[in-house]
């Protein structure tokens, strides 16, 4: 099940990176307030963001352990993500409140804008590559098989001797660490972070990406993220503004997003790319006749 509070993990990573690199809040005329305010080097802060992301992921995961119906769980997750944004927004001296934290340092700030952006893309691409390789360890092979089994039926998995709690928290921690890193990279690029940047609707956009791409397919998810994020949401910016109707273009973007989600769930719930399962081949074995045994091919 997709985690509707995932955006909180991204936010946690972003805030962690921000307060660990930005320096004390008395700087810059003291116009913003936040805790910590260290000036750690980039990589240390990213690692810390991963750790905090993992921690927050596990915390969210713990609430998900309670056996309630999945739509209720979805609701709890949505509420958690809205609540987290509200609480952070209402506490101005904790993480900058509603205005958020700005002037977060960029690791390439001494390069020019364009070179810096390219350097950043290169770095993010590298991070993605590493992330993909780590992810493959989890989604491919026997580990992926076990996780998929748990996703299909937790009770049956527990009956098979799997510690559902441990595996769930493990996946939450790994997912959380990923979210934390992506939050850190994002905030280092943007330079600022505020509750408005992680409203629950952003979760919907992430979810649409996953649904369109195909939930069980790493490549599909990546592709979906590109299609949705870049083409749709950024593409809307290139449309001519309809002057007489403020907000119409923007509204169209959102409607397309919503309809796309519904349309895919309706017509092609598996997404553009299906989940693929490995095929195993039977070794040649002269004694076995594959189709002759008990229970073969009969309808029960």
């Amino acid at each position: 099940m997709a985690n509707l509070a995932y955006i909180v993990v991204i936010a946690a990573g972003a805030y962690t990176y921000a307060v660990l690199t930005i320096g004390p809040d008395t700087g810059n005329g003291g116009f913003q307030h936040y805790i910590l305010g260290y000036q750690l080097p980039f990589f240390a802060a990213v690692i810390a963001a991963a750790a905090v992301g993992a921690g927050v992921g596990v915390l969210i995961g713990v609430t998900g352990l309670k056996r309630i119906r999945q739509d209720y769980q979805a609701m709890v997750m949505l509420v958690i993500s809205i609540m987290a944004a509200t609480v952070i927004g209402a506490a101005p001296s904790f993480l900058g409140g509603e205005p958020g934290i700005s002037l977060v340092p960029n690791p390439f700030s001494n390069l020019s804008a364009v070179t810096g952006a390219w350097a950043y893309v290169a770095m993010v691409a590298f991070a993605c590559l590493i992330g993909y390789l780590v992810l493959r360890k989890f989604t491919g092979g026997p580990m992926g098989r076990a996780l998929r089994a748990m996703r299909d039926d937790e009770h049956a998995a527990a009956a098979m001797g799997f510690s559902v709690v441990r595996m769930r928290l493990l996946t939450q921690a790994v997912g959380g660490a990923f979210g934390g890193v992506s939050g850190a990279l994002l905030v280092a690029f943007i330079g600022g972070w505020s509750p408005g940047a992680w409203a629950y609707v952003e979760t919907l956009a992430l979810l649409t990406a996953v649904i369109v791409g195909g939930m069980g397919n790493d490549f599909g998810v990546t592709l979906g993220t590109f299609v949705i994020a870049v083409l749709l949401l950024q593409g809307v910016q290139f449309l001519p503004q309809i002057r007489s109707h403020t907000g119409l273009t923007e509204a169209l973007g959102w409607m397309v997003l919503g309809l796309l989600t519904i349309g895919f769930l309706w017509f092609r719930p598996q997404g553009v790319f299906r989940e693929r399962r490995p095929k195993y081949r039977l070794r040649p074995d002269p004694t076995g006749d594959p189709s002759s045994g008990a229970l073969a091919g009969r309808r029960g």
Binding site: M1, A2, T63, K66, R67, I68, R69, Q70, D71, Y72, Q73, A74, M75, V76, L78, V79, I80, I82, M83, T86, V87, G89, A90, A91, V201, L204, L207, T208, I211, H245, T246, G247, L248, E250, A251, L252, W254, M255, L257, G258, L259, T261, I262, L265, W266, P269
Partner: protein, 295 residues
Amino acid sequence: MHLLVQSIGFGVAAGAVLSLGAVGFTLQFGISNVLNIAYGALMSIGAFLGLFMLGLGLNIWVAMVLGGLAVGACSVLLNRGLITPLVRKGMQPFGLVIVSVSAGIVLEYVIVAVAGPATQSYGNLSGATLNFLGWTLTTAQVVIFGIAVLLMVGLHLLLTRTQLGRAMRATSSNRTLARSCGIATSRISDIAWFMSGTFCGMAGIALAITIESFDFTLGSIFLIPMIAAAVLGGVGQPYGAMIGGLVVGVVSSVSSAYWDPAYQSVVAFGIIIVMLLVRPRGLFGSSSATRKLLA
């Protein structure tokens, strides 16, 4: 002390609107078993329909009834056109939540496309201010409270005294069993969606009257306290939702008087999470409703 009494009064006034919305929400959930997040958007539609009808020169209370019925029709359409077909396709509850979230967003931006994103207002309809029991309420708030009470009593009579009500309760507690007893559950479901939509639309217009100023996000902002009320009272329990609405209203009002008002909405969030995780049946829910909730 005076502040406490007063804020309880505000809470009751806000709670009446909340109850109205929460009852509709919980009624539909109880019978069709679908968590409808698009409910908030339907509420906004109700508020904008009210605005449209005020523009036509209708009386606000007439507009409230008509708007409610119109939203009821929208609600049935949503069920027939989207939810039921997907349920038939075997979509899981989690998928349905995503669908209703998406549908809600689409509906909201349909409002933006038609009416624009600007802030709207019915104008000052609150009437004279009334003082009693140390409470300060406007005439409109009292009328809305009255309407809410009337609707609740009406719903109570419908559920307990009529054949339809019995059929609805039967469907709510066990759909399969009800169907095997010859109850046309899909028709009951339609009726539930319609009634839910009607409550929703009326709550939207009532909210727009009391809040004075609103935009297309009206309903989705209000959805969280409404769900909190429904969850507090036990999901699927109309009576629970009535009480839940009042409790959530009073608690958030009192909390914002004595605590940082910025945290006002956090109270509602807290109620939802604590209730669902600690006592999912709600304060008034039966254990059969609990079994529905548990996976």
